[in-house]
Symmetry: C2
Amino acid sequence: MDEIAIGIIGFGTIGSGVVHILKENRAILEARTGFGIKLKRIADLDIESDRGVVFDKSILTRDAYDVLRDPEISVVIELMGGYEPARTFIIEALRNGKSVVTANKALLAEHGLEIFDIAAENSADIAFEAAVAGGIPILRSFREGLIANKFDKILAILNGTCNFILSEMTENPGAAFKEVLKNAQELGYAEADPTLDIEGMDSAHKLALVLALTHGIHASVKTIHVEGITQIEPFDLVMAREFSYKIKLLALIIRHGERVEVRLHPTMLPESHPLAQVDGVFNGIYLRGDMVGEQLFYGRGAGREPTASAVIGDVIELIRSKRIGTSGRVPPLGYSGSLMSDDSVMDMNEVVTNYYIRIQAADRPGVLSRIAGIMADHNISIHSVVQKRRDHSGAGAVPVVFITHSAREADLQSARQEIGNLDVVDAPPTIIRIEDEDLD
Amino acid sequence: MDEIAIGIIGFGTIGSGVVHILKENRAILEARTGFGIKLKRIADLDIESDRGVVFDKSILTRDAYDVLRDPEISVVIELMGGYEPARTFIIEALRNGKSVVTANKALLAEHGLEIFDIAAENSADIAFEAAVAGGIPILRSFREGLIANKFDKILAILNGTCNFILSEMTENPGAAFKEVLKNAQELGYAEADPTLDIEGMDSAHKLALVLALTHGIHASVKTIHVEGITQIEPFDLVMAREFSYKIKLLALIIRHGERVEVRLHPTMLPESHPLAQVDGVFNGIYLRGDMVGEQLFYGRGAGREPTASAVIGDVIELIRSKRIGTSGRVPPLGYSGSLMSDDSVMDMNEVVTNYYIRIQAADRPGVLSRIAGIMADHNISIHSVVQKRRDHSGAGAVPVVFITHSAREADLQSARQEIGNLDVVDAPPTIIRIEDEDLD
């Protein structure tokens, strides 16, 4: 049986998962593909630590160029993450005619066009299923199985850390964000520095890749409206439940003809929505195609084996493509033809949606009427309002919650600022957008 | 832009959906693929009826060989269904070097090996995503994205008609099977002759295809244990709810080392299971891979556009493959290498699972003890028992329901027969298997 040589750069969690699967499922991979995969080289600065997998240590090297310049290696797996030197290494691999598999969402979201051009020039392929939603084959589904569809709506939970934290806060009313984060760190579900996850940037990079694949739009994450989950308070989760909503950190792509909303923020979703069932560290992608209608993909979005499973799916695709001499002939969808132009993304101020607004206001006569007055001045029509005195509060600030009818983001932000400036209000109101098609 | 000619044989619902999508989403398809698709010929015995789509009527023909022998046509879409003449037409197309897209699950389940061999001999491809779960790209996911996995468990709702009927019976306690079926027929969710759907054969054909793709096992549906939903009574749905279960017609593939359970029958599933949320005409596939862990795919399993969307995804894959000269080089997974042998399917009698048993017994002293005695004689240990007198029944037969601990199917069937023979019991007990990992 033919053996195809591959190499890995960056030997962390996912890399050790790749080694594990190649060993554990060798027989099944050979039966399904008709060829063997030989892991020839692994490059990492640390070649000493035990990764908990059994393999021939002599393939380890500290020099990435031992992988990049090995003429026998036909597919390079980049798993270092970060912009540099990952970008330089990937480009070197492509220039040497090697195909590349990567899970590097940040790099592709920012430098994807450059890298795909270089791949095409060198008749090499680049695949990155593992960059979005771990083991769920969602990019492939967009590129192939669902290719006949325009996507009216894509809503996605793309970060397991945030979803775990929000799920825990939902299940344990009163649990504060910081406690739950600490618990997630202890369980290994959150990094020591969780900033990229909880501030939403990890999800935003993935959102940018999905947007490119499905709509052909290349948007820097700097231009996307991104909010993380750090402002969510236990009280919001209690209120969400009262309105039969769940709070999820959602990536949203909503098409209106030739314009498209693209945003990433905590979102209240009806409990009956398929995505509302996606709890804990799981990821979920809900889509509505003009031809297929509604679909949901659900699975583990991170972790050693699930992500490595996606990497190996890509490796096999690229090996097949190289063996039959078609590398570089099928560019990643959305990077090829023109679908929608990059400037079809709507300004966040133009977005029209429903809002949950929490205001910490003094418990005095007339306060509610002043707040409601400001909303009316800004064309914000109120669907419901709830004011609850906390058991322990004899006086002082109490939270008032409004659910709005459809309103423009620009109006909402103006009203938010004006309300925040009231002397009877403690701070600018907290806003959580609502994705509920039954609300007008 | 290059135009690739294709032809359709069988111009029913899905065929008209293909025409619709090719017209409606022409621009997006061209942008994503870089080529145009020209529908050159449509063959059907009926070339008169209005299909509700606009196209050049001159491409219609009554003669399938106008499609099969047209040298310009490179991909033939077979949408007639049934064994013959579909089999003959597909073989003719492959022998003429054309690639074939089909949604014909019955034909492939029974004659797949023959047809795939002929495709390979003629360097032609055959694709059939539309044959299973409509617009959900599940076969492609098994073949590609999830290729690095052994599948420990696959549970799937593959028939929208049955799922609609069971969902309606769940939502409307007391609604009898026949009434709900009639309603489904009026809504267009069930055929005039619903036998293939409600007796489970449609699902069984799909199960056989999934089994071949995931495990490399070729099992005729004649050898698979298949039960439909016609025996389910409103009372069973009421009881299911009481035990926090839902009843679904499930295809099950459960691997135990080198042996595998393959069965298709109504199944009680915990309400918290991801598949339990898949209601109405929707399909769902739940899988547990040894590397990716749990995944769920959810979407429309039938209907004009969803199924046509899958057909077009396949057409594009096969056109790409033909254009780059690789047709026939990547055989359908599971039909290539040896994964598990065909005889690794366990005999149904060996299956060990939990059971719901409903017995219509006379309301007399000693009856319960006689039934329980028979169960004990057959090593069936009882987890719970419920006996409820119906409001209106002053006397006569009352249903008794047992939930068992794990038991062997052979033992269960012996006990069922013995209990059915008791003079105090009206008929052989109704059995519904339970898929609940929390039950021992």
